[in-house]
């Protein structure tokens, strides 16, 4: 009886695994195709796997000075954005996670309110403008630096850490800052990495905020410049830009 059940279990496991592998492969197809298209020599028919490999597309792309600059901007914005966001989030989540913080529920409620009801695009723009942050990276770094969702996730994580560890540290004479630095943060690496990743992805993909707050095109991050390149490719006035870089020069 036991053996029969085990065989059934194995069959079930194999079916589930096969299904999941199929799902995985199906998910990978578009990604593989994109890589394949990028490696296919210019002008050749694209297929799921390239018949010949060429790095011309990458060379062409990297030759664009605007792109390199935008890449640098994106890296800078992502690194500094994650740093600022993490500092602000940790420094807000930790006190809110302490039961002895006066007005804790009220403060959490106020923060939660902003999560449920957004001020909207125009008031945000006015705030950024009146703080003289237009056309500065601060507009992108400070705007949305703390995500309420991430903050609450982190606060809940901090709340679940054993209180005895903090008490023991305080008995040994540690200040609140020392408790945070030496006890809480080392124990919170998983959540720090997760939230850090969330912030990094958000900052890296940031598109509309740069378009709205920046007017100096040299400051634009990668998504904006990539979109511009795609716009050029699909433009009716294609000749005005790309023709001079990809086609023979007219006499």
């Amino acid at each position: 009886m036991t053996r029969v059940r085990r065989q059934n279990d194995r069959a079930f496991d194999r079916t589930v695994n096969a299904f999941l592998i199929a799902v995985l492969l199906a998910t990978l197809i578009p990604l593989v195709y994109v890589v394949s298209v990028s490696l296919t020599p210019l002008g050749q028919t694209t297929s799921l796997l390239p018949r010949a490999v060429s790095f011309n597309a990458y060379e062409e792309l990297l030759r664009q000075p605007a792109l390199i600059r935008a890449l640098g901007n994106s890296v800078f914005l992502t690194l500094s954005g994650v740093l600022i966001s993490m500092i602000l989030t940790v420094c807000t989540a930790y006190p809110l996670s302490r039961p002895d913080l006066p007005g804790r529920k009220f403060l959490t409620g106020v923060i939660l309110f902003t999560f449920l009801f957004s001020a909207g695009l125009i008031p945000l723009y006015l705030v950024i403008r009146d703080l003289n942050l237009l056309n500065t990276y601060w507009a992108l770094l400070l705007h949305g630096a703390v995500s309420v969702y991430n903050l609450l996730v982190m606060k809940n994580f901090f709340q679940n850490l054993p209180e005895s560890l903090e008490e023991a540290a305080k008995i040994d004479g540690a200040s609140d800052l020392q408790v945070l630095w030496h006890i809480v943060l080392p124990l919170s690496k998983p959540i720090l990495l997760t939230i850090g990743l969330f912030y990094a992805v958000t900052q890296w993909n940031s598109f509309f905020e740069p378009v709205l707050y920046l007017s100096d095109a040299r400051m634009m991050p990668l998504p904006v410049v990539l979109r511009d390149i795609l716009t050029g490719l699909n433009s009716a006035e294609y000749v005005e830009s790309a023709a001079t870089t990809t086609a023979p020069r007219t006499p």
Partner: protein
């Protein structure tokens, strides 16, 4: 000269120089200008931007140039700036609904007072009453509507070498077109032993640069609707019986013809979801026998095309005739860039600086600098035709980011922009002649009036409903019979299409576009 005298002279010279520089600095006007960049992928202008320096020296304008993103992002940006009373001094608008909205909100200023301050530009560009009607509201002129410098550059291209190889004639009617497309699909015109070519390549494309799409399948199929006398959205010639073309029985016949192309499998099976860049890849790879393309697209793809098809030969075919002899490649608007001045700028007294800058950009040094770059570095004049010489492509493109302020569409300019393409075997194609051919030979219909038609409150729903229904019909997902067609046209009533038509008629009549 004693030491004292020399010192005094130096001091006097310094004081005079400072006074001059101070006077110059006082005269300089800061001007924020937001435009859709001519070369979006080119690097942004740097601090020592040649063109910026020249503009400052010649017009006394400290130009702060912002590149607007195309599409909804650009509209949202302008909308946000307007809501914050922070619009640029001079800017471009492509979304006319936003334009009229800004007028009603009092955010943009009437521009009539600028016209006498830029006499040459006004004479050349703003003298057409019908075109100016596109920017008039309550008797005031609220925008500088440039004429289109490069419309009607599209056409249907054919692989002439394939025609010759298969002993076929250039198609002139819809039936001949289908026969040639079928032969290109089935008779292995590239001789590679595989059935991997397509008779006709077109995509659903609603780009409005120089060509106006109608409701439905977009620019690449307008020639089919033109062959049945119903290109574009509106029937301007119906007088009081004005209506949308979609209500005309011939509209269904045109749709049936597209269905025929699909049923005959002469089109890429992915055509309904492909983008223009995908189509360009296809013809450059040598997969398309007939395809819809602009002259600019031909130049841009020429190098790849030749590499893949060394014996390839591309020509434009005259737009095919329909059963009753109608023919038209599509509709166009004789309206290019629309420039608007913010009320804030006008109130701040920046009008004269704006006029001076635009007048400078219209002709002479300003025109060449903006349109072609730095003389001697980026271009030279050969027989009066500006000819690109630079090897620093990105530098030139940066210098010409503002070129839509300057371009005028005159013959010398077009010859400079559309030169000769040379095949490696010695053949050549004069692209300027191609451009002239496609303008002259395709019976384009001027429907500039479309631009004054107010968008319906549910415009996106109307567009989607018509477009998706037609795609279903031509793909065979929905049988194209009397019942289904009636159901489709009846469905327009639920979208208050009649109200949209009524408003369109009123606006077109008021603008003098229909009687």
């Amino acid at each position: 000269m004693t030491h004292l005298t020399r010192t005094t002279a130096r001091t006097l010279a310094l004081v005079t120089l400072s006074a001059l520089l101070g006077a110059h600095a006082q005269k300089a006007t800061d001007l924020s200008v937001a435009l859709y960049a001519a070369n979006p992928e080119a690097p942004a202008p740097t601090a020592g931007w040649d063109t910026g320096e020249v503009i400052r020296a010649r017009t006394g304008v400290n130009l702060k140039f912002t590149m607007l993103p195309t599409g909804a992002d650009g509209d949202n940006k302008l909308g946000s700036l307007a809501a914050a009373n922070d619009l640029p001094d001079l800017f471009e608008i492509r979304n006319r609904n936003l334009f009229y909205q800004l007028i009603r909100q009092g955010q943009v200023a009437p521009v009539s007072s600028l016209l006498p301050q830029m006499p040459q530009r006004t004479k050349a560009r703003y003298g057409n009453a019908m075109r100016n009607g596109l920017v008039n509201e309550n008797g005031q002129m609220y925008g500088l509507q440039e004429p289109a410098t490069l419309s009607r550059q599209y056409g249907i291209m054919v692989r002439q070498d394939w025609l010759e190889k298969l002993n076929l004639k250039t198609p002139t009617t819809l039936d001949e077109f289908l026969n040639v497309a079928r032969a290109f699909t089935e008779r292995d015109p590239d001789g590679n032993g595989r059935k991997d070519t397509f008779g006709y390549c077109g995509v659903i494309d609603f780009d409005t640069a120089g060509i106006l799409p109608g409701l439905g399948l977009g620019n690449h199929f307008q020639w089919v609707y033109g062959a049945y006398g119903v290109p574009g959205t509106w029937n301007y010639r119906a007088g009081a019986a004005f209506a949308a073309n979609v209500r005309n029985p011939n509209y269904r016949k045109a749709t049936e013809y597209v269905r025929k192309l699909v049923d005959a499998r002469v089109m890429d099976p992915d055509w309904a979801t492909m983008k223009r860049s995908d189509l360009r890849n296809r013809w450059q790879q040598g997969k398309c026998g007939l395809f819809f393309e602009s002259v600019g697209g031909l130049i841009a793809g020429f190098k790849n095309f030749e590499a893949n098809n060394p014996k390839g030969d591309l020509r434009f075919v005259p737009v095919p005739k329909g059963p009753s002899g109608s023919r038209s490649m599509g509709t166009f608007a004789n309206a290019g860039t629309l420039l608007v001045v913010s009320k804030k700028a006008m109130d701040a007294g920046k009008g004269p600086a704006i006029a001076k800058f635009l007048e400078w950009a219209h002709s002479g040094e300003g025109y060449f600098q903006l349109a072609f770059g730095k003389k001697g570095t980026d271009y030279t004049l050969v027989g009066g035709v500006p000819t690109v010489t630079t090897t620093n492509v990105n530098g030139r493109l940066t210098n010409t980011q503002l070129r839509f302020l300057a371009l005028n569409g005159q013959a010398a300019e077009l010859k400079g922009r559309y030169g000769t393409l040379k095949f490696s075997d010695g053949r050549s194609v004069n692209v300027y002649n191609l451009l002239m051919d496609t303008r002259r030979n395709n019976n384009w219909i001027d429907r500039s009036g479309d631009l004054v038609v107010p968008a319906a409150p549910n415009q996106a729903d109307i567009d989607r409903y018509v477009s998706e229904s037609l795609v279903q019909f031509v793909l065979g997902q929905r049988p194209l019979n009397d019942g289904n067609w009636k159901s489709f046209t009846d469905g327009l009533n639920g979208l208050n299409f009649a109200g949209y038509e009524k408003n369109a008629y009123a606006a077109l009549k008021a603008g003098g576009f229909v009687k």
